[in-house]
């Protein structure tokens, strides 16, 4: 499977016994799942809200206080109201065998009682919580390819011979982008481009980058079909945006940036080539 299964381990009600919940949470992590633990004293509403926000595939409920007959079905009910019944709900704790049937009827997929091996729980989740992920896998990919890699340099003239001479790339385009206070130089290689960025002043974004990090890779740009649509998708998935909407980049491209805090420190540009740009690029 491409992504780890996300699981919410939740303690509904006032019960403070979380040894089992914590052990299961760590055990499922060791089984390769991504586990979020709610902490104590959660109402069913809080649990469902967290599950939706965190986009989990499975909720594991733990109760040792005898309140399971009220709490567990309430969570399933709320999920149905939110049209999120595809989230798998399982339960565990001090739950008498006699209650299991009623809980199953109420929509709890499986009740695990004391003595269950973590492996069994993990296998059950794997077997039953994959539907949503398959659906995600069937979506077309957002990125169509790497459009270019941006490299911040102090002086283009100094490094250009390395690219054109040693590596043998050819310059396809040079442009001054006034509002970014930068001069860009594009070189083409194997269907993608390298963009060399040289600052034109001491306080533009590229100059700031150079002061902070020195010369180096500045950003990576992915080609997308529609920048604005891609921004909305990224935002919905919880990524912070630098640009709320597409803005013009060089050569008639539409571009926008995602915040590097959410992308492992790499500044990501989304870029969309327009027809006019194709014409110029093709000439």
């Amino acid at each position: 499977m491409s992504q780890p299964i996300r699981v919410l381990v939740a303690k509904p009600g006032l019960d403070g016994h979380d040894r089992g919940a914590l052990v299961i949470a760590q055990g499922l992590r060791d089984e390769g799942m991504e586990v979020i633990y709610t902490g104590l004293r959660q109402t069913p509403i809080e649990i469902v809200t967290t599950a939706l926000q965190e986009d989990v595939a499975c909720i594991g409920l733990s109760s040792l206080s005898g309140a399971h007959m009220e709490m567990f079905p309430a969570v399933v009910q709320l999920l149905r109201q939110q049209q999120a019944e595809d989230i798998l709900v399982i339960g565990g704790g001090v739950i008498p065998e006699q209650d299991v049937e009623a809980l199953t009827a109420a929509g709890i997929a499986k009740v695990f009682t004391p003595g269950t091996r973590i492996e069994e729980v993990a296998q059950f989740i794997r077997d039953h919580a994959h539907l949503q992920e398959l659906a995600q896998e069937n979506l077309p990919p957002l990125a169509l390819g790497v459009d270019h890699i941006g490299i911040a340099v102090t002086r283009v003239d100094e490094i250009l011979p390395f690219y054109t001479g040693l590596l043998g790339l050819s310059v396809t385009h040079q442009e001054v982008i006034a509002d970014q206070e930068v001069k860009t130089t594009f070189l083409t290689v194997g269907g993608m481009e390298i963009e060399l960025l040289e600052p034109l002043s001491t306080d533009g974004p590229v100059a700031k980058f150079l002061f902070k990090h020195g010369p180096g890779i500045h950003h990576m740009a992915f080609a997308v079909a529609d920048v604005n649509a891609a921004l909305r998708t990224a935002q919905a998935a919880g990524f912070r945006l630098i640009d709320e909407r597409a803005r013009p980049g060089g050569r008639g491209k539409e571009i926008a940036f995602l915040h590097p805090k959410d992308t492992s420190g790499v500044l990501i540009e989304l870029c969309q080539r327009t027809d006019t740009e194709e014409d110029i690029g093709g000439s």
Binding site: L14, G16, H17, V23, G39, G66, M71, P96, P114
Partner: protein, 552 residues
């Protein structure tokens, strides 16, 4: 040849023997990862006579390793105190009177979660929880029903109540007053141990600072007014249930105790005024000898802490008195009758360890609340140990066992290391706020789970010696309508009680909480005006705020 040479020789031949006939495991270790040697000999233990006095002493004398009374159970047995409570005050009162009739010698009250977290039975957060894990007490009326026909000057009562301990103690005192029993005649214990709630049990309300204030307020108030009341029961039990080792249980409990003592001293209380009323609560777990050693080490360490660290002089301040409960987390849902045997072995360790009172778990507690029959068997277990086995006929029968003395030393040594580390973090409150204790416990719990799953640790009837068909025992059911009944009762109370007195009492409590005065008299006053547990706690919540744990 001296003993060491002789032993070397024996070890050598023994190793050859063991090569031919391998032992069950490469090494044997206790729950706290202390290595258990093949054999213990005198030189592992007491070198000279002076060692006897330094490490053991006589029963009733420092360092109290052998027990806090000179005659121990030859005088009177430990108090048989079964933890009970479920449903309504009427139902629990009935169970209390049943237990007293069966020969139980003290009461121990289990409250439901809403009561323990300071919510009345009609609060939204109480839905589904009323009367589940204990009795539902919202009002003074509930408390009067709970102790109906139980003379509070004759019976001592332990109450498992922490964050709202002041409120339930106030209710108990007002009920005593109504029975015509003066406060210097009532005896009992409130758990009142908030630190382990943050660590392991979860029924906290307020942040640490105001919680510590409520605790030191009870120390000061009871020292003056309720001299036979144990103002705190510093509990390792729940730390152990959460998965700690024996050494962690001991060390974290004593570290918490040090924090309470320090808080009281900082408030200006005198060590020997409140020291004698501090009590402890430990777990009796599976490793028989390590448990006995833990209890003995606990007494020795506490007397040292009180004397050397805090300068206590009164012998009562140096004596670690404790309640014990057998380990609920060791009980299995599979083949539940086997639990009777587990409980027996654990109870035996508690008695060998010199406990002052004991709760033996019922066999069906891994499934639900215990039935009357199961509770009776649990109590009978204690009675058989006391009256038939003869173990109560001499004091500290394990003393001088080469093994137990060496293990007592080892448990103590390891526990000091934890306490020193916690001191270096700035004390128990700091260590808890940083999540240190929680993480240590969780790590131990996870290792236990893995050991069970890999069958390094055998749990009879669960991961070995299983049966294909488990029988379905009868279980106790709590009336799910109790929440509604309690709500109606509260509605009636709120419409009938005199409003002005109630309002004034809560206003005064609020002003008191904003200031520095002892809150106990103000809470007692509020209880007299029929303010409920939830209303009193809400008043304090307004001033103190609520504790929000970090998730580690």
């Amino acid at each position: 040849m001296n003993l060491r040479d002789q032993q070397d020789l024996w070890e050598r031949s023994c190793t050859q023997f063991a090569e031919k006939h391998p032992e069950r495991k490469p090494t044997f270790r206790t729950s706290s990862d202390i290595e258990v040697k093949r054999l213990y000999v005198p030189e592992n233990v007491l070198q000279i006579e002076q060692d006897y006095f330094d490490k053991l002493g006589f029963p009733g004398e420092p360092p109290y390793t052998r027990g806090i009374q000179p005659t121990m159970y030859r005088g009177k047995f430990w108090t048989m105190r079964q933890y009970a409570g479920y449903g309504s005050a009427e139902q629990t009162n009935e169970r209390f009177r049943y237990l007293l009739k069966q020969g139980q010698t003290g009461l121990s009250t289990a409250f439901d979660l809403p009561t323990q977290i300071g919510y009345d039975a009609d609060h939204a957060m109480a839905a589904g929880e009323v009367g589940r894990v204990g009795v539902s007490i919202s009002s003074l009326e509930d408390m009067e029903i709970l102790f109906n026909q139980i003379p509070l000057d004759k019976v001592s009562t332990s109450m498992t109540i922490n964050a709202p301990a002041t409120v339930l103690l106030a209710m108990y005192l007002v009920v005593a007053e109504k029975q015509g029993v003066s406060w210097d005649k009532v005896a009992g214990t409130i758990q009142n141990d908030i630190l382990k709630e943050y660590v392991a049990r979860g029924t906290y309300i307020f942040p640490p600072k105001p919680s510590m204030r409520l605790i030191t307020d009870t120390f000061a108030f009871c020292a003056q007014q309720v001299p036979h009341w144990n103002t705190i029961s510093i509990s390792g039990y729940h730390i152990r249930e959460a998965g700690s080792t024996a050494v962690q249980e001991l060390a974290f409990t004593l570290a918490n105790a040090i924090a309470y003592v320090q808080a009281a001293l900082d408030k200006g209380l005198k060590i020997d005024d409140f020291g004698p009323r501090l009590s402890f609560f430990f777990n009796a777990h599976n490793h028989f000898f390590e448990e006995i050693s833990k209890f003995r080490a606990a007494r020795r360490m506490w007397s040292k802490i009180m004397k050397e660290r805090f300068g206590a002089i009164n012998p009562k301040s140096l004596q670690l008195r404790f309640h014990t409960q057998t380990a609920g987390s060791t009980l299995t849902a599979q083949q539940p009758d086997n639990n009777v045997v587990r409980v027996t072995v654990q109870a035996l360790a508690a008695v060998m360890g010199g406990t002052q009172s004991l709760h033996t778990n019922a066999r069906d507690e891994a499934l639900a609340l215990p039935t009357e029959e199961s509770v009776r068997i649990a109590l009978r277990t204690q009675q058989i140990l006391a009256y038939e086995s003869g173990i109560a006929d001499t004091v500290d029968p394990m003393a001088g066992s080469y093994y137990v003395e060496a293990l007592t030393d080892a448990v103590e040594r390891e526990a000091w290391r934890y306490i020193e580390y916690i001191d270096s973090l700035g004390g128990a409150v700091e260590a808890i706020e940083q999540g240190y204790m929680q993480q240590e416990i969780h790590q131990a719990a996870y290792e236990t789970q893995r050991a069970i799953e890999q069958r390094d640790m055998v749990v009879v009837g669960m991961n070995q010696f299983t049966v294909d068909r488990e029988s379905q025992p009868d279980l106790l059911r709590v009336d799910p309508n109790l929440g509604k009944l309690q709500t109606q009762r509260l509605e009636k109370l709120r419409s009938e009680r005199p409003f002005d007195a109630w309002q004034t009492a809560l206003d005064e409590l609020k002003r008191g909480a904003q200031g520095q005065d002892n809150l106990m008299p103000l809470i007692i006053n509020a209880v007299r005006t029929h303010a409920t547990v939830g209303e009193i706690c809400d008043t304090l919540r307004d001033v103190f705020g609520e504790y929000r744990p970090a998730i580690f």
